[in-house]
Amino acid sequence: MSFWEKIYLPAVLNGMRITFSHLFRKKATIRYPETKREFAEIYRGQHVLKRDEEGRERCTACGLCAVACPAEAIIMVADERKPGEENLYREEKYASVYEINMLRCIFCGLCEEACPKEAIFLTKKIVASDYERDGFIYGKDKLLEPLDPEKRIDISKRETKEVLEFKKDKSKKHNQ
């Protein structure tokens, strides 16, 4: 060590200068309940099962999302649409049970990429905490988009150009 390093003082003063400059920096703290961190428009949070313009469920229970899911968080039971249910389900086949285990889900978004029917999307909503594990298995009651046009969930930000183009690509088997 040189003489100036040995007496510590220049290094100490330099350090103190640096810390002092931090007094006037913009603080990184967000006072949580009063102010909230702004989410990205394409944030991957809780899923939503979309309905089409007429309010019919888009999901046809093809199971591609469950196959794509790396965490194996999705379970579904397919059912056949009965006559008279055309206003409820868009396709002839629909999911009578559709469950996502939110404890397993890693919010990667592969399910929406796999979906050929534009039925499942991730939203800005955060999965609420719970005391029980059972509470984290979200069924259709929690996932399905509300019918009320006022309460429809906007997912247009997650439908990027690349995604839309990919879904039109007929060379991919599941898009046919």
Binding site: V12, M16, I18, T19, K27, T29
Partner: protein
């Protein structure tokens, strides 16, 4: 005689209250300053700007479980924090908090005891302070506490030497051990720090070590010794130790302000031509500004520098601080002789 006792009692209790209040709020300021240095905001939930945080902390400490290890020496275990607190509060008696107040033609100095050996008294009391920590660490019957106590005692004893030697140069210039004389000699802007910068620097560094503050906080040393000498302490006994640290910080800032920064003196004080009472009040606030600044320096250094290694600490104390202090005495002596 009656008024004398009454006035001394009022003054002493005022100083006691102020030291406790300042110590209480320096815990908040410390956390705030730490937060600001780290680009955070610090506590701001309890009351506006977190002003009730010290109260919340105090209440929490009072209601915590009073735990005492089975193997601890019961008497010494309680004596430790009590002694630390007592000694921390004792030193403030000799510090002149302002010039004289004049009420009904009688002069009342804002100093509890103008002892003619003021500095010596402060050093004597401060050196007893090590016993509180040593006894606490020993009585806990815990290896970490004992190691912390050993570190604390050897560190405090080593740095006390350099500290007192640094003061000798100031005393040589003033020719008096009375704190009142030393303050009066620094009238106006004639502060000792301009004449004795080396002594001030040595004193400052030693004050960090004496208060067990970072970068010399080896006695508590969370990373190696759990909590150091207060590992086994909980509830208000722990609170006393932590509280005493802040009182010590306040008092050493006050001593430094008195010895080196002119105490209650401020530049151009003669040109104001105010009544003695107004001067005493202004002087008190001036002293407090200086103390606040020095207290801030304590925190500033703490949140800047990492902890010293123990051998570095000892080398700095014995091989750097003490020789420097002696050199400073010699140079001061030569300059006084030539003048």
């Amino acid at each position: 005689m009656g008024t004398f006792i009454l006035y001394k009692t009022i003054l002493a209790s005022c100083i006691l209250m102020i030291s406790l209040l300042v110590a209480m709020y320096s815990t908040l300021i410390e956390r705030k300053v730490a937060g600001f240095f780290q680009d955070r905001l610090g506590p701001d939930r309890a009351g506006p700007w977190g002003l009730f945080q010290p109260l919340a902390d105090g209440i929490k400490l009072f209601f915590k479980e009073e735990f005492m290890p089975n193997t601890a020496d019961k008497f010494l275990y309680i004596l430790g924090p009590s002694l630390t607190m007592l000694i921390a509060l004792l030193t403030s008696a000799a510090i002149p908090w302002g010039s004289n107040l004049v009420i009904n033609g009688k002069e009342y100095p804002l100093q509890v005891a103008d002892i003619n050996i003021g500095i010596l008294y402060i050093f004597a009391i401060v050196s007893i302070g090590v016993y509180g920590i040593m006894i606490g660490g020993w009585a806990s019957n815990n290896k970490y506490a004992l190691l912390g106590a050993i570190r604390a005692s050897s560190q405090m004893i080593s740095y006390e030497l350099a500290m007192s030697l640094a003061i000798i140069a100031v005393v040589m210039m003033t020719g008096s051990l009375s704190l009142k004389d030393i303050v009066q000699q620094q009238h106006g802007f004639n502060w000792n720090v301009w004449y004795q910068p080396a002594a001030f620097l040595i004193f400052l560094v030693c004050a960090f070590a004496e208060c067990n503050r970072s970068p010399f906080d080896l006695p508590e040393c969370e990373t190696e010794l759990v909590g150091g000498y207060h590992t086994e302490y909980s509830s208000m006994k722990l609170g006393f130790y932590l509280f005493a640290e802040y009182i010590n910080m306040f008092i050493s800032a006050a001593v430094m302000a008195t010895l080196f920064f002119g105490g209650y003196n401020f530049p151009f004080m003669d040109k104001l031509a105010l009544s003695p009472n107004a001067m005493a009040t202004i002087g008190f606030f001036v002293l407090f500004t200086k103390i606040t600044f020095l207290g801030f320096v304590f925190m500033w250094v703490r949140w800047t520098l990492p902890r010293f290694r123990y051998d570095q600490l000892m080398r700095l104390g014995w091989k750097a601080m003490i020789p420097l202090a002696i050199l400073n005495i010699v140079i001061t002596g030569i300059v006084i002789l030539i003048r």
